[in-house]
C-alpha cells in the first residue's frame, strides 16, 4: 500500500516536472512546478519526514513559488509569446545530457550493488528498520530535527540566519531604482 502511494506521487512528480520544463507560458511552468513540489511533500511524508513535508508546502509552494509568480506578474510575462525553446540542436543536446545523467546515476547504482549495496557499505551507521518512525513517535516530528539543529548544527544555523539577512539586503539593493 505504502509503495503504491509512493509510486503514484512519484509518477505525478515526474510528469509535472516534465510539463514544467516544456510549457511555453511561464505561469503554466510555475504552476506545474508547484504541483511537483506538492508531490514531493507527499513523498517526504512517506519517507518519515513529516516536518520537512510541511516545510516544503509552506516555504516552497507557499513562499518561493508565490515570489516567482509575483515577478512573472510584475514583468508581464504571463501571456504566451514566441517560444523560448532552443532549436533542434539545443533540444537534442538537452535530451542527450539529461538521458546521459540518468544513465550515469544508474551505472553508479549498479557499481554500488556490485560492491554489496548501500546496506552492506553503511551497516556501521545504519539505524535499525523503522527506527526513524519510532524516534518520531517518541520525540515528535519537530523534536527529531530540533535536537540536532540546535546542538550539533547550531553554528551553521546561525550562519544561515546571517545569510538570509544578506539576501534580504541584497534583494532590496538590487531591486531598488536608486538608493
Amino acid at each position: 500500500m505504502l509503495e503504491l502511494v509512493f509510486w503514484f506521487f512519484s509518477a505525478a512528480a515526474i510528469v509535472s516536472a516534465f510539463l514544467c520544463i516544456t510549457r511555453r507560458s511561464a505561469v503554466a511552468s510555475a504552476l506545474w512546478l508547484v504541483s511537483t513540489l506538492f508531490d514531493l511533500a507527499a513523498i517526504f511524508v512517506l519517507l518519515d519526514a513529516q516536518f520537512i513535508g510541511v516545510l516544503q508546502v509552506l516555504v516552497y509552494a507557499g513562499a518561493i513559488m508565490v515570489l516567482f509568480l509575483f515577478v512573472i506578474m510584475l514583468l508581464d510575462l504571463g501571456r504566451e509569446g514566441r517560444t523560448d525553446m532552443k532549436g533542434s540542436v539545443g533540444q537534442f543536446v538537452a535530451l542527450a545530457l539529461g538521458v546521459g545523467l540518468v544513465v550515469e546515476l544508474w551505472v553508479l547504482k549498479r557499481v554500488m550493488d556490485a560492491e554489496g549495496g548501500f546496506a552492506a557499505q553503511t551497516a556501521a551507521f545504519q539505524l535499525p528498520e523503522g527506527e526513524l518512525a519510532r524516534m518520531t513517535e517518541a520525540q515528535g516530528a519537530i523534536g527529531i530535527i530540533a535536537a540536532p539543529l540546535f546542538r550539533q548544527y547550531l553554528v551553521p544555523f546561525e550562519v544561515t540566519s546571517v545569510l538570509l539577512l544578506v539576501a534580504v539586503v541584497g534583494a532590496v539593493v538590487l531591486a531598488k531604482r536608486r538608493l
Binding site: L33, L101, V102
Partner: protein, 98 residues
C-alpha cells in the same frame, strides 16, 4: 525500504532540471529548473535520512533556507536586468560577450 526507488526518482527529477536549464532561454523558467534540481537533492537527503538518522533532514532544512535566499536575490537580479534591457530571454542578454 523505499531508498532505491526514492533515489531513482531523485535522479530523474534532477536530470529533468538539467535538461530544462539547457532547453529553455527564459531566465525565470531556468531559475525554476534550478529549484527543481535543489528539490531532487532534498529528496535524496530525506531518503538517506530514513536509513541513517535525522541529520539528513537537518541538511534539507539548510538547503531550503539557501534556496529561499537564492530565489530572493536571483529574482531581484532578473528585475534589474529586465529594467535595463526589457527582456528575460537569455539569447538577448549578452553583456559579457566580448
Amino acid at each position: 525500504m523505499l531508498l532505491g526507488p526514492a533515489l531513482g526518482v531523485s535522479a530523474i527529477l534532477f536530470s529533468l532540471g538539467v535538461a530544462g536549464v539547457l532547453l529553455r532561454r527564459n531566465v525565470i523558467i531556468i531559475f525554476m529548473c534550478i529549484e527543481l534540481m535543489l528539490n531532487a537533492a532534498n529528496l535524496a537527503f530525506v531518503a538517506f535520512a530514513q536509513q541513517l538518522g535525522p541529520e539528513g533532514q537537518v541538511i534539507v532544512f539548510f538547503v531550503m533556507a539557501v534556496a529561499a535566499a537564492e530565489a530572493a536575490v536571483g529574482l531581484a537580479i532578473i528585475l534589474a536586468i529586465f529594467r535595463h534591457r526589457q527582456t528575460v530571454d537569455l539569447g538577448d542578454i549578452n553583456l559579457l560577450r566580448g
